[in-house]
Symmetry: C2
Subunit: 351 residues, 2 copies
C-alpha cells in the first residue's frame, strides 16, 4: 500500500517542538536561546541542532508578552518628505538595529493631535521607548509619556533648563548666531523666511533667536520682513518675492532651512539679483543638496548632540543596553550655512 505523504499544514514550529526533538524541557530549550551559559555544553548543542534542523524562529510576540519587552522603539516624526527628518530617522534606525531593536515610524505631518494618536498607538503596541521631534507637544502627549513612564527622548531642539531627556541643538542660539553674523557684515535691515512656526518649536526658536540678536543690537525685526513658508523650494521663492515687494526691502535674508534658501537663490537668479553683492542669503542645516546654491553658501560650525544616532544612544542607555554603546558617538556637529556676506548696498531690489 502506497504511503500518502501529506504536505503538513505548515504549523508554526514552537519551543515545545524543538524541546521534544532535543529531549529536554521547554524551559531548557528556552534557556538555550536566551541564557546559553546556564546550560551544559551537550544539551545546549542538542537544542541548537534541533532548532536549526526544524528551522525554528522564536515567536517575538509571545516572548514580548512574557517579558514585557518588545525590543521595539517608536519614532514619531513630522514627515519623511523632509530630507532632514528622513536622514536622522535613518541614522536612528541604524543605531537601533545594531542593538537588536526594531524601529516603528509614524509621521504626524505637523499635527500635534496626530502625534498624540501615534504615541498612544505605540504605547498600546508595547514599545520599549519613544522618540519625538521637538520640545512642544500636546499636553495629552506629555501626560502619556509621564504616566506610562516610558523611556523617551525629544530631539532636534534643546533649551536651557529643560528637565526632559533631549538631544539636538539650541535652535534659538543658532538663529542668533546667524543674525549676528549678518550684523557683523554691516547689515541693518534683515528679513527672514521662516518655516511654519505653528506646531514647530524648532522653526519658532530660530526666529526667536534672530529677533533677539537684532534687539540686542538695538535693531528690530519688523513684522513686514518676516514671512512663514513651508520648507520647500516654492516656499523660498514666494518668500523672497514677498520680502522684496516691501516698501523698504531687506539687505539680507535669513532662511529657515537650506531648501528655502535654495528656492530664494533660484528666485534671485531669475530676478537678476546678484547674490551676495546686492543681497545676502543664509541657509540652515547641512543638506548636501545645498551645494547647488549659486553662489555656494559658506558654513559655520554649530555643536549638536548626538545627531549621528538621533537619540538612539540616549534611549538605549535608558533601556540598560549600555555595554555596546561607544561613547564617541555622543557628539557631532551641525553646520549652519550662510552666504558670504557683503556690506549692505542700496540696490535695485525695489524694482
Amino acid at each position: 500500500m502506497a504511503k500518502i505523504t501529506h504536505t503538513n499544514p505548515r504549523r508554526r514550529i514552537t519551543l515545545d517542538d524543538i524541546a521534544r526533538k532535543a529531549g529536554v524541557s521547554k524551559a531548557t530549550a528556552s534557556r538555550a536561546l536566551t541564557l546559553p551559559d546556564k546550560l551544559s555544553k551537550s544539551t545546549l548543542e542538542r537544542v541548537r541542532r534541533a532548532s536549526k534542523l526544524m528551522g525554528y524562529v522564536s515567536h517575538g510576540v509571545a516572548r514580548a508578552l512574557a517579558t514585557g519587552k518588545t525590543h521595539t522603539i517608536g519614532a514619531v516624526i513630522p514627515t519623511l518628505d523632509n530630507a532632514i527628518y528622513a536622514v536622522s530617522t535613518g541614522s536612528l534606525e541604524r543605531r537601533l538595529e545594531q542593538a537588536g531593536y526594531l524601529l516603528l515610524v509614524a509621521c504626524h505631518e505637523f499635527n500635534l493631535h496626530t502625534e498624540t494618536k501615534a504615541v498612544r498607538a505605540f504605547l498600546g503596541r508595547g514599545i520599549d521607548g519613544i522618540v519625538l521631534v521637538g520640545l512642544a507637544h500636546a499636553p495629552e502627549t506629555i501626560r502619556l509619556l509621564d504616566e506610562t513612564r516610558i523611556p523617551y527622548v525629544l530631539t532636534w531642539n534643546i533649551r536651557p533648563g529643560i528637565r526632559r531627556p533631549v538631544v539636538g541643538f539650541n535652535n534659538r542660539n543658532a538663529g542668533r548666531v546667524i543674525a549676528e553674523h549678518l550684523l557683523r557684515l554691516g547689515h541693518r535691515r534683515i528679513g527672514m523666511i521662516a518655516g511654519i512656526t505653528k506646531f514647530n518649536d524648532r522653526a519658532a526658536d530660530r526666529l526667536a533667536g534672530v529677533r533677539q540678536a537684532l534687539l540686542d543690537a538695538g535693531l528690530r525685526l519688523p513684522s513686514e520682513l518676516v514671512v512663514e513658508h513651508p520648507y520647500s523650494l516654492d516656499g523660498g521663492t514666494e518668500g523672497l518675492a514677498l520680502l522684496l515687494s516691501r516698501q523698504r526691502p531687506p539687505t539680507a535674508i535669513i532662511c529657515g532651512n537650506d531648501i528655502i534658501a535654495l528656492g530664494a537663490l533660484r528666485e534671485a537668479h531669475i530676478r537678476n539679483i546678484n547674490i551676495p553683492r546686492e543681497l545676502s542669503v543664509t541657509g540652515f542645516d547641512d543638506m548636501p543638496i545645498a551645494e547647488l546654491g549659486n553662489p555656494p553658501l559658506t558654513t559655520v560650525h554649530f555643536p549638536m548632540v548626538e545627531v549621528g544616532t538621533h537619540g538612539g544612544t540616549t534611549l538605549l542607555r535608558a533601556l540598560g543596553e549600555t555595554e555596546d554603546i561607544p561613547k564617541t558617538e555622543l557628539s557631532l556637529r551641525l553646520v549652519v550655512r550662510k552666504s558670504t556676506g557683503p556690506p549692505p548696498s542700496r540696490s535695485k531690489l525695489t524694482r
Copy 2:
C-alpha cells in the same frame, strides 16, 4: 486616623479590571471592544464607560498573541538617505496608518544579506505583511517569503512575466524611452552615468533599457561610456568628468537619477559647457529638487502603479482590509525628466 494614600505602583489596567468595574465577565469586556454589535446596548455602554474611566488601553502584544495578527507591516528599504525612498516610505506609512496599521522600517543599505536579516527579524516579530524594494533578492529572502506565506509586495520595479505581487513601473522600458528620445534628437554617441547596479535591479534595468534601445537602433553603448556612481551630487560630478575624459566623449548623457543629473549639470556649468547646446543631459524620477537644474529639465510622463501608497493598498487588500480602500489610488504617474535635446554637435567637450 488619617488615611495614607499610596501612589499605587502604576499597574497596568487590564481587561479584567474594567470587566470587574463594569460587572461583566472578561469575555464580555473583550467583545465590547472588538465585536460591539454582539452586545446589548446597556452592557456595551457600561463597559465603555468603565474603560474610559480607568483609561484602559488594550495590550496589543497580548491581543497579537491571541489573534495571530499584529497590525504591523514591515518595510525593508535600501536607505532613508535617498529622498525617493524616504518619500515613498512616507506615503506607505500614511496609507497604513489610515487602515490602523503601524509601519516597521529597516534599511539594508544596498546589502542583500542585511535585507535577509531584516526580513527574518520582521517575521519573528509577527508582522502581518512585508514591503521590499526591487525584484532581485537573496534566495534566502525569497525562501522566507514563500515558506512563511507572508503577504508581501515588491516595489519600484516590474518586469513582464513576474509572478509575484509587484508594484511600480518598468525601469527597463523607462530607460529605453529616454534613450529613444535622445536618438530621435539625433544623438548617436550616448553615455550613461548609471547608479550602482550591484544589488539594485532598478538601476540595472534602466541601464539595460538604454542599451537595448541603442541596439535596436543599430548602435552600441560602449563600455567606456558607461560608469556607475552613487546617487549623489558627487556621483554626477565624477561621472561627467569621467565620460568627458574619454577619447570620443558622448554628445548626450543619461543619468541614473535626478541627483546624479544635478551633479552633472553643476559640473558642466563649472566646465563652461553649454547644456543643452553642447551636451544633452537627462534625469530620472521627479524629485522636486530637480527644478534647480540649470537649464530646467523637460518632462515625459511615464506610468507607475501605486506610487501614491507604495504598495500599501496592495498589501491591505491581501490582508482582507478591502472595504476602505479607494480604488482611485491604484494608479499614479512617475515623471521622467529629460533635458531638451539639441542635435549633437562637434563641441569643445574634448578639451
